[in-house]
């Protein structure tokens, strides 16, 4: 299958554009994900301005939003569009494609000892479908009736009826097209990752010697293969209802004075189909970040990851359970209350493997010799935010408690802390840690420190206060809280949140600067700058097709022999054969 690329004539197009090399594709995913992320970030600053100072005029809003912010005050419709596209971009384009696409592509072949992915061609397609999806989503921002505005969850009938909100016209159609392309990209990528991990491991790389990053990416890919098609089906049925007069989700509707002919459909059906993907999706977002954290923490604590088998077991348990909890997003939809009980039971169960992971991370630090690289800081930050966000999940997963916090800022706090903090921290850790592998250069350490601390403090400052807003009854997706006197005394909290949000956004400027500066003019990296055990650090700094100049190395041990007694150094790469009398881990 893998043929010798050494005699291949490379053009600019085949090297940088339609590359089939997993390392180049990883970079393509990263850059595209980061650019989309900047758009999503800017949107969040805009709507936070509106929430802190409702009705105030901000010239910058008019500059960016044009007719949607006359005299610098944003229109309620565009507010809903901003939160919709912000959510869509962050969950899918940044934390799914940007995170999995980058690191699964970069690390799977390198860490298992393969020349490239099983199919370089399919890999190349998976990126270009993602690119096309990003273009369509970006273009949808400019249509006259506005981008999709029914929330990133796009529940019908709101998302099916342009008469209900302008963004449900062309904007929603383009959203559906974009997501169809996105799902194609994810499926193509995931299939490749699974096949590669199963078939192309080098000699000696048994499944039990795989680094936890690979376990995480592998299981994530399986989750994706099983769940994304259901989102596609939900989207297709929505397309039919929108354009072909079907009634999958619609029944007994009067809108703008007209009684629609649709009969027999149920909006709850959409919710079941959506969340059947939607819940596993959040683990698709989180597991790679957790895998990266295992790697970064053990390498930088100079200790084996504590409880490797428990960590693998908990990844598998989380993956399995993630398929049977989706109804916790739907406790008050009017579905049969008995279902609510079932989903509370399964949801609280998923707390167990999550807790096991958190305890194992903490114990990995215990008695370590910790080297605080920026990647390590972000990984420790991830453990902290994972604990915080995970704990509030116990409230939201309990159907009786969810009654009063569903769709309030309590939920917004929870999912941002686990995704907008934990998962993105995993992504940052991955970028800082594998930057030498991606670009052959080192990122600036001081800027990394500043980036971490500003982000960590300000991001907690944005989302922790939101728990209080939620417990005070403030609903999400509200353009303004000024319509209800009961929220008048919460303005200060909203202002505080927005200030932290602006600070957090500015802090990302440090990261972007560091990233671009280091990629272009950074100091050249050595081959194994972190003194790590895994196989990717045995490849040359300059990328070559096929990864290793000679034979692929053989593996003789697991990935976590750090500070092993009786060895010369505090790390033993996986390629080092067992010494005489050495005990196998």
């Amino acid at each position: 299958m893998a043929h010798d690329h050494a005699h291949h004539e490379e053009t600019f197009i085949s090297k940088y554009v339609f590359s089939m090399d997993h390392k180049m594709i990883a970079k393509q995913f990263l850059i595209t994900g980061m650019l989309m992320g900047l758009i999503g970030l800017l949107m969040s600053v805009f709507f936070r301005l509106q929430l802190a100072w409702p009705g105030e005029s901000f010239p910058i809003l008019e500059t960016f939003l044009g007719k949607w912010a006359p005299d610098g005050v944003m229109d309620p419709n565009i507010y809903l569009a901003l939160v919709t596209i912000h959510g869509t971009i962050m969950v899918f384009f940044v934390l799914t494609a940007g995170l999995s696409g980058t690191f699964s592509n970069l690390l799977i072949p390198l860490q298992i000892g393969a020349r490239d992915m099983a199919s370089g061609f399919i890999n190349m397609l998976s990126y270009w479908f993602f690119f096309a999806s990003s273009i369509v989503m970006t273009v949808s921002l400019f249509v006259t009736s506005g981008p999709a505005s029914a929330g990133w969850t796009i529940y019908p009938p709101l998302s099916a009826l342009p008469q209900a909100i302008p963004g449900s016209g062309m904007g929603m159609t383009l959203w559906l097209v974009s997501m169809t392309l996105f799902i194609a990209s994810s499926l193509l990528g995931a299939l490749n990752y699974v096949v590669t991990v199963l078939n192309l491991r080098t000699k000696g790389m048994s499944m039990t010697r795989l680094p936890l990053t690979i376990w995480a990416f592998f299981v994530t890919a399986i989750i994706g293969i099983l769940s994304f098609p259901v989102l596609l089906s939900a989207a297709l049925l929505l397309l039919f209802d929108r354009s072909m007069g079907t009634s999958f989700y619609l029944s007994d509707i009067m809108i703008q004075g007209e009684v629609l002919t649709n009969n027999g459909g149920s909006p709850v059906l959409f919710q079941h189909l959506f969340w059947f993907l939607g819940h596993p999706e959040v683990y698709i977002v989180l597991l790679p970040a957790l895998g990266i954290t295992s790697e970064v923490i053990s390498t930088n604590a100079r200790k084996p990851i504590f409880g490797y088998r428990a960590m693998v077991g908990s990844i598998l348990a989380i993956a399995f359970l993630s398929f049977i909890v989706w109804g916790h997003h739907m406790f008050i939809t009017g579905m049969n209350p008995f279902l609510g009980s079932v989903f509370t039971f399964t949801t609280l169960l998923i707390a167990i493997p999550s807790a096991i992971k958190a305890f194992n991370y903490i114990t990995t630090l215990w008695k370590g010799n910790i080297r605080f690289t920026p990647a390590m800081l972000f990984s420790i930050g991830l453990v902290s935010t994972f604990i915080t966000g995970g704990l509030t999940g116990l409230i939201l997963g309990d159907n009786a408690l969810d009654i009063n916090v569903h769709d309030t800022y309590f939920v917004v706090a929870h999912f941002h802390i686990v995704m907008g903090l934990s998962a993105i921290f995993g992504m940052f850790a991955g970028v800082y840690h594998w930057f030498p592998k991606l670009f052959g250069k080192m990122m600036n350490k001081q800027m990394g420190y500043w980036h971490f601390w500003l982000t960590f403090v300000s991001a907690y400052g944005v989302f922790f206060p939101m728990h209080f807003l939620g417990l005070a009854g403030v609903p999400r997706r509200y353009y303004s809280n000024t319509a209800f006197p009961m929220f008048d005394n919460l303005t200060d909290i909203n202002v505080l949140v927005t200030m932290f949000a602006i600070l957090s956004a500015v802090a990302q400027g440090i990261f972007m600067f560091n990233f671009i500066y280091s990629a272009l003019r950074g100091k050249k990296a050595e081959q194994n700058p972190w003194k790590s055990n895994t196989l990717e650090w045995t490849t040359p700094v300059e990328h070559i097709h096929g990864n290793w100049p000679g034979d692929i190395p053989e593996v003789h041990r697991w990935a976590y022999d750090y500070s092993k007694p009786g060895m010369d150094e505090d790390f033993v790469p996986q390629t080092v054969p067992l010494q005489d009398g050495e005990e196998v881990h």
Binding site: I253, L365, S384, I395, H406
Partner: protein
């Protein structure tokens, strides 16, 4: 023009920062050593920052509880609501305990085991007994929470509604209409196809049950202590009827009837005294994204004595006569 100048300034600032960083890197290299290698000093500083962050985080959370604790919703004004509040208090208590154990441990370890060139990590890689303990304890705690939670839920959704007073809440972009049963205690059949004139919720006026139904608009009354059965319909898109003070929430779904049963326990006057807010009112909010004015879809609820409620009801006009 201003914007062009701002753009030029921005470019110049970035260019200057690039040069400064370059200079810093070069001078550091001249002094010898690798700018990006993590030193013992770095580890000491970052470890210390970790510990200080932990103190700051704990401190600020305590401050937030102290400063904002009384901005939260007041105690529940319904029977099941009090059960929910108890469950919430216990769950919160457990969460806070776990939080204040695990977070300090994480950051303390980060500080205590900060790296030194001369340091040595321990090779200990697993401990099955420990895994068992920290699996079993969460499992037990969660089982307790699950059982308690499911019993509370079961109480809420399996109420005996034979004596309940039925009130329907009809949601549409962007207001609420309440519908009372009138003297016969039954709501008439309704569908969007019957909407006409004053019959804005589409009651079938041919049926007897529907003719005495009474509509309520921006402000409605409910009798205290009377078991209620709220039913919900929607005219156009999903809405959600959120009565935060009653701990009641239920989606309003076009094409489907949903419902929620509860008993209000405190009158509006009582709440005004208890909260010290003379302007307090029970409120109904929309809590499912429904369009541009989703943020302003409301109805005021007044919970009053049975007598006052009866008096108010006698002043309302049945649908057939409007």
């Amino acid at each position: 023009m201003i914007q062009l100048l701002l753009a030029v300034v921005a470019v110049l600032v970035v260019a200057s920062v690039v040069q400064i960083v370059r200079i810093l890197e070069l001078t550091s290299e001249l002094k010898g050593g690798n700018t990006n290698a993590v030193t013992d000093k770095d580890n000491r500083n970052q470890g210390l920052l970790m510990f200080l962050f932990m103190l700051g985080m704990m401190g600020s959370f305590i401050w937030m509880w102290a400063a904002w604790g009384d901005l939260l919703l007041p105690g529940a004004s319904s029977i099941h609501g009090e059960q929910i509040d108890n469950l919430m208090a216990i769950t919160m208590g457990i969460i806070i305990i776990v939080f204040f154990i695990t977070q300090p441990l994480l950051f303390y370890f980060a500080y205590k085991y900060r790296g030194k060139k001369t340091g040595q990590a321990s090779y200990v890689s697993h401990n099955n007994k420990l895994e068992l303990i920290w699996t079993a304890i969460p499992a037990i705690v969660l089982t307790v929470l699950i059982v308690y939670g499911l019993r509370t839920w079961s109480d809420i959704v399996n109420k005996d509604t034979s004596d309940a007073q039925v009130v329907e809440f009809y949601a549409r972009q962007f207001d609420w209409t309440a519908r009372y049963t009138g003297a016969d205690g039954m709501l008439g059949e309704a569908n969007v196809r019957n909407i006409e004139g004053a019959n804005i919720v589409g009651v079938d006026l041919q049926s007897e049950e529907g003719q005495d139904d009474v509509l309520g608009r921006s402000e409605i009354y409910l009798p205290v202590g009377q078991p209620m059965l709220f039913r919900f319909r929607s005219q156009d898109v999903l809405h959600s009827a959120y009565f935060p003070h009653f701990r009641v929430q239920m989606n309003c779904v076009p094409g489907m009837n949903t419902q929620f049963a509860f008993t209000p326990t405190k009158t509006t006057d009582q709440m005004r005294q208890e909260t010290g807010n003379a302007e307090f009112d029970y409120i109904l909010l929309c809590n499912k994204i429904c369009g541009a004015a989703h943020y302003n879809m409301q109805m005021t609820i007044k919970v009053v004595s049975q007598e006052e409620y009866d008096r108010w009801m006698s002043e309302q006009t049945p649908l057939a006569n409007s």
